[in-house]
């Protein structure tokens, strides 16, 4: 069966709650046994009534005893059922919590390329829609599955005890029921898989179109967006309809078979009573048992839909959980207390796609405390260098070292905690401005946060916001903060993190020039005593760099100081001349 690997994959997570599941099972068993005694006692009661009716002398004390026992059995059964459902609920919610945490944890272990390459809405749909749906199925399966199953067995046992013939009749229809249900399930299964796949796709499309809303409006592409949506939505609608039709048809079919059983028992039972082989009370009890026996079938069948739907979702969650991960971090190596900040690229080659090298045989050395400026046309591989140093991507060959140690041999967190970075794309999480600044140093005091904001020249605009440092922002809030202001916040964040190595990746491109001049002063101060990699476009800002590296087409065209390179009359001199021509 297609779903069994998924079940096997999730099995350890489920067995982690085995004591709760076992407790739920045990209490369920008791509850079912007590519930099964109910109709039997009612049947005895009916017999007493019938006897009384025939002899015109009703045994009221006997009847009272039987009825009290029945009422007690029902009440106790209910009590145990509550315990059973609570235990199952606790177990299922714990499993769901674990699954959500697993998916979130997985996210941090995926190669960055895998995170970047996927449609955000599609991944989100797995985390939200699919886990949500799997939860409903698990809740059904464990909250409601055990009782009907036990109840079938228990009822059947009592039925055999009363009359093996009638019990056999009830059994005959069972394979019929199972066969019919299996036939429908086989049709519902692919429909559910389709439904959740299309849900993911539609979610992806919607997420993207809502994110790019301004462009769609400006380019008048609303109709095309709606048309593209309509295609996916149509398929989703159709898959939903098929899944619902097949899974919901199971229950009426079960009900019919249950009625058939009921009729057969009434007929055969009636004939047996007429022949004097059974009492009317027995038939009466039996008819009720046959209901109690077949009711779980239709109950199980009605849940089949939800469970299949949940399995389809589970497949998608497992697919995400089992996606290839980045190479695991080595364990046990203690990080050096202090980092001098010597960085070396030795004969490094790398390509985002196999067989298409972007950087080839690159060698570059940064002395501790030096500023390395990387310049070159866009697409020359400047950002890639940063990606490799941070180990966002793994190099194909060569070696990158920090203080002489290969960075591939150290845990990523040790490496990254030494490096402060201001990225090209700003990112704020939903929280206050202060929280966002303190992102790299969560134990920072308010004074330190304010000091960092001042250093990044963000303090002034923060104070004009309604709640100051306590203003809540998020990554979407385009209206509250301008692109430049967002950038200032991420710069303040880097200030506060106080790293040994600094990476500034086109960081100041969206800040207005007055502010940038101030930031340049602050960055110069910050760079003091740290190794800094600056990816800059304005050559004027990097004139005083210790080394300027000019990149072209994934290789270093030349490197040296500003004066040295200018005198050499190579690519740097040409870039500089081009800029001067542009500004003059």
């Amino acid at each position: 069966m297609k779903t069994s690997p998924t079940v096997r994959r999730l099995w350890p997570t489920l067995t982690h709650q085995r004591w709760l599941f076992a407790g739920s099972l045990a209490t369920g068993l008791v509850s079912v046994a007590l519930a099964a005694a109910g109709p039997w006692l009612l049947g005895r009661g009916t017999d007493l009534v019938l006897d009384g009716a025939l002899r015109h002398d009703l045994d009221y004390t006997g009847l009272s005893r039987v009825m009290l026992a029945a009422a007690g059995a029902y009440a106790a059964a209910g009590l145990f059922a509550v315990v059973q459902a609570r235990a199952a609920n606790l177990a299922v919610q714990r499993v769901l919590r674990t699954l959500r945490a697993d998916v979130e944890d997985k996210l941090t272990r995926l190669p960055l390329g895998a995170v970047d390459g996927q449609r955000r809405g599609e991944v989100l749909s797995r985390v939200t829609n699919d886990i949500d749906n799997l939860g409903i199925a698990l809740q059904q399966a464990f909250g409601q599955l055990v009782i009907p199953l036990f109840s079938i067995v228990a009822t059947l046992a009592v039925m055999f005890w009363i009359s093996w013939l009638l019990a056999l009749i009830a059994c005959v229809t069972a394979p019929l029921s199972i066969g019919a249900a299996a036939w429908l399930i086989k049709r519902a299964q692919p429909a559910f898989a389709d439904q959740w796949r299309h849900t993911g796709e539609v979610n992806g499309h919607i997420e993207e179109m809502y994110t790019g809303h301004a462009l769609i409006k400006a380019f008048g592409r609303e109709q095309q967006a709606i048309d593209a949506f309509a295609a996916g939505n149509g398929e989703l609608t159709d898959a939903t309809r098929r899944a619902q039709t097949f899974s919901n048809a199971i229950q009426p079919l079960m009900m019919f078979l249950s009625n058939l059983t009921y009729i057969l028992i009434a007929v055969v039972g009636g004939v047996r009573v007429a022949a004097g082989a059974l009492t009317v009370g027995d038939v009466q009890a039996f008819i009720q048992y046959s209901r109690q026996y077949s009711q779980p079938f239709s109950f199980l069948a009605s849940m089949a839909g939800m469970i299949q739907s949940g399995l389809a979702s589970a497949d998608r969650v497992v697919e995400l959980l089992d996606a290839a991960e980045q190479t695991p971090d080595p364990t046990g190596t203690a990080p050096p207390e202090t980092v001098r900040g010597a960085v070396a690229f030795e004969d490094v080659s790398f390509g985002y796609q196999p067989g298409r090298p972007l950087i080839e045989h690159l060698t570059l050395t940064a002395e501790p405390g030096h500023t390395i400026a990387i310049v070159g046309p866009t697409g020359a591989g400047k950002t890639t260098l940063v990606n490799l140093l941070m180990r966002f991507y793994e190099i194909d060959s060569g070696r990158i070292s920090l203080d002489g140690a290969d960075i591939a041999t150290m845990p990523r967190r040790h490496l990254r905690s030494r490096i402060g970075m201001v990225l090209q794309d700003t990112w704020l999480f939903s929280g206050t401005i202060a929280d966002n600044i303190a992102y790299g140093a969560s134990d920072a005091t308010r004074d330190q946060v304010v000091a960092a904001a001042k250093a990044a020249h963000a303090d002034r605009f923060i104070r004009t916001l309604p709640e100051g440092y306590d203003t809540v922002v998020d990554d979407e809030g385009g209206s509250a903060l301008s692109a430049g202001e967002r950038q200032l916040l991420t710069i303040a964040r880097a200030f506060l993190a106080d790293p040994a190595i600094l990476i500034l990746d086109e960081a100041t491109s969206s800040v207005d020039t007055r502010t940038e001049a101030l930031i340049q002063q602050a960055l110069t101060r910050l760079r003091y005593g740290r190794t800094a990699f600056v990816i800059a476009h304005r050559l004027s800002t990097i004139r005083d760099a210790d080394t300027i590296v000019v990149m072209e087409g994934g290789a270093i065209a030349e490197q040296g100081t500003h004066d040295h390179l200018l005198a050499a009359g190579g690519p740097y001199a040409r870039l500089y001349a081009a800029q001067f021509a542009a500004t003059a």
């Binding site: 029902y74 459902a85 400006a218 039709t245 009426p252 007429a274 941070m390 385009g478």
Partner: protein, 577 residues
């Protein structure tokens, strides 16, 4: 809200809904006839030992069961169609409606919330409609029918129902009343988990750079625990419903036999009638069990419906003109007249009293500090938002009177946030110009200085682009965004800080190529760098939302202190002069 939403969106399917009701009615009636018949079997067949009657009545029962099957399956098929089509229609309505939103409304809801509302919330509504039409509608029918049939069996015994039904109703109401507020909390905590997860996907690079995986895990764990806790509370209530109602049903059965015993003893009813009565009582309670089992979905669906309706009831602040102007007296002209813009609820306006004009062949640049309102002004031109006061005129017509399609065709907009759609280079470039030939695209790439790197990509124009354009560098993304605007060959170009990610040499080459292409066009440009705009025909200097100067580079450099300060911060004196 759920009812209101359904009343509106079920209209196309009203006859199908009627059909479901009809089928369910027949189905329920058939189900109710069955205990009556089985009572007959006992009273008229078993007790008098009439085997013929037993067979005859059994046959009738089988026929009725078959009718029930056909009707029930029919109801399922129709209900599946209704609920899935309803969900499809709702999604279409939501998606289409969001397309009419302006930047204001998008900001108000936020994209992630709108996504959840369009998919997850609709999903909940769909499920509730499905279960209502297939199961829930039969519950009241079953109840009412059960009561009628029970009354027919024995009136005094039916007095029992007067006790059982209200007790059942009270218990259900109590549980539901506690469930409703919990559902709203549940949906809100789900939103929180989704939001954090979405942030983590978007910010994965930053999280790793700052080694905040553990911190993020803790943040997520907090939301996850909260969701678990709320789910447990919902679960504890749910755990009560089923056993309580089942136990009630059992006790009711006991009561029926116990009290019925006296009636049989006194000869008022037959044993078969007692048996049938028991059947009906159990039927009524069975329906109640089914209902209590499905009712908890309702509060959650109600919350979802409210969230969806909130979107549908929000009208865009940008209103499409009823009789749009389809001609422009002065095609290339862009004019802002005393424009002000402020966000609703905000104390101060983002911009006030801004006025300037640009005609075909002219370039007008806007410069000013971060937060001075430059991007906001640009958004008003393609009508991504409307002014709070004053007017924006394109082609000599107020944009609020202009045909939207015509307006968007006239303008090539390059927004500040460089965003590409997933697809290929070509699908992105054809975004604004569906009919452009490959040659047209290469021409646009040439001007945008993007030809070289596109040629290098595997597949060239057909090279894949991931969502947001994250698989190309920032500078490449920016040039593709420019090429996208160029490919439409508009009369008016609106560049919002569109050259910031380019190195100087590329920037210079691009502007040179652009100048030749846009010689006939109007160019409105926001920039941070002075040398990007120094050749503009007019430069508008913004400070804190106000225009503090308009003129050429030289005029402003000589006379405008704000502009002079900006220039001097960037260029050495010799370069500036």
């Amino acid at each position: 809200m759920l009812i209101r939403l359904l009343r509106r969106y079920l209209i196309p399917y009203r006859w199908l809904v009627v059909a479901v009701m009809g089928l369910q009615l027949v189905q329920t009636a058939a189900a109710l006839l069955l205990p009556d018949l089985s009572a007959d079997i006992i009273d008229r067949g078993v007790l008098p030992s009439d085997v013929g009657a037993i067979w005859r009545l059994g046959g009738v029962m089988a026929a009725i069961a078959l009718v029930q099957l056909v009707c029930a399956v029919g109801a399922v098929i129709v209900a599946a169609r209704v609920s899935s089509c309803l969900a499809g229609d709702l999604r279409t309505a939501l998606f289409g409606h969001v397309q009419t939103f302006s930047a204001r409304e998008m900001d108000r809801f936020g994209a992630p919330s709108l996504v959840t509302r369009t998919t997850n919330d609709v999903q909940q509504i769909q499920m509730v409609v499905q279960t209502t039409l297939t199961f829930l509608v039969t519950a009241p029918l079953m109840c009412a029918g059960g009561i009628v049939f029970a009354l027919r069996q024995d009136l005094p015994l039916s007095l029992l129902l007067v006790v059982i039904v209200p007790v059942l109703a009270t218990v259900t109401r109590m549980i539901m009343r506690r469930m409703a507020p919990l559902s709203a909390v549940l949906q809100a905590t789900i939103d929180t988990v989704n939001r954090i997860m979405r942030e983590q996907i978007t910010g994965q690079r930053v999280i790793r750079a700052f080694v905040k995986e553990t911190h993020e895990q803790a943040r997520f764990a907090e939301a996850n625990d909260r969701l678990t806790e709320v789910s447990l509370r919902v679960g504890r209530l749910m755990a009560l419903i089923f056993p309580v109602v089942t136990a009630l049903a059992g006790v009711a059965g006991v009561a029926v036999v116990w009290i019925g015993a006296g009636r049989v003893d006194s000869g008022a009813i037959g044993v078969g009638a007692l048996s049938a009565f028991l059947g009906y009582v159990l039927q009524i309670l069975g329906a109640a069990i089914m209902a209590t089992y499905l009712l908890p979905q309702l509060p959650r669906a109600e919350v979802c419906a409210r969230r969806a309706a909130e979107v549908l009831d929000t009208h865009s602040s940008v209103v499409t003109p009823r009789e749009p102007a389809r001609s422009m007296p002065d095609p290339g002209r862009v004019e802002l007249r005393d424009v002000a813009f402020h966000y609703p609820g905000a104390e101060t306006a983002v911009v006030t009293g801004v006025g300037f004009a640009a005609t075909a062949g002219e370039t007008v640049a806007i410069i000013g500090g971060t937060g001075s309102g430059k991007s906001t002004l640009l958004k008003l031109i393609p009508r991504l938002a409307d002014t709070s006061a004053g007017a924006v005129l394109v082609g000599g017509v107020d944009v609020r009177d202009l045909d939207r399609e015509m307006l968007s065709r006239t303008i090539g907009y390059v927004p500040q946030r460089r965003f590409l759609f997933s697809g290929t280079i070509a699908t992105n470039l054809r975004f604004g110009a569906p009919d452009a030939s490959d040659d047209d695209l290469w021409r646009a790439l040439d001007i945008a200085q993007a030809r070289a790197f596109v040629e290098d990509l595997p597949g060239g124009l057909d090279a894949p682009i991931s969502q947001g354009g994250t698989n190309v560098s920032g500078g490449q993304r920016q040039r593709l965004a420019i090429a996208r605007a160029l490919a439409r060959r508009p009369r008016i170009y609106v560049f919002d800080d569109s050259f910031s990610a380019l190195d100087y040499a590329t920037d210079a080459r691009l502007r040179e190529a652009l100048a030749a292409t846009t010689a006939e066009a109007t160019v409105i440009i926001v920039a941070q760098r002075v040398n990007t705009i120094r050749d503009a025909d007019r430069i508008v200097v913004l400070d804190d939302g106000h225009v503090v100067g308009i003129g050429t580079h030289h005029e402003l450099f000589d006379a405008n202190p704000t502009y002079r300060e900006i220039v001097l911060s960037q260029l050495t004196g010799a370069e500036a002069a």
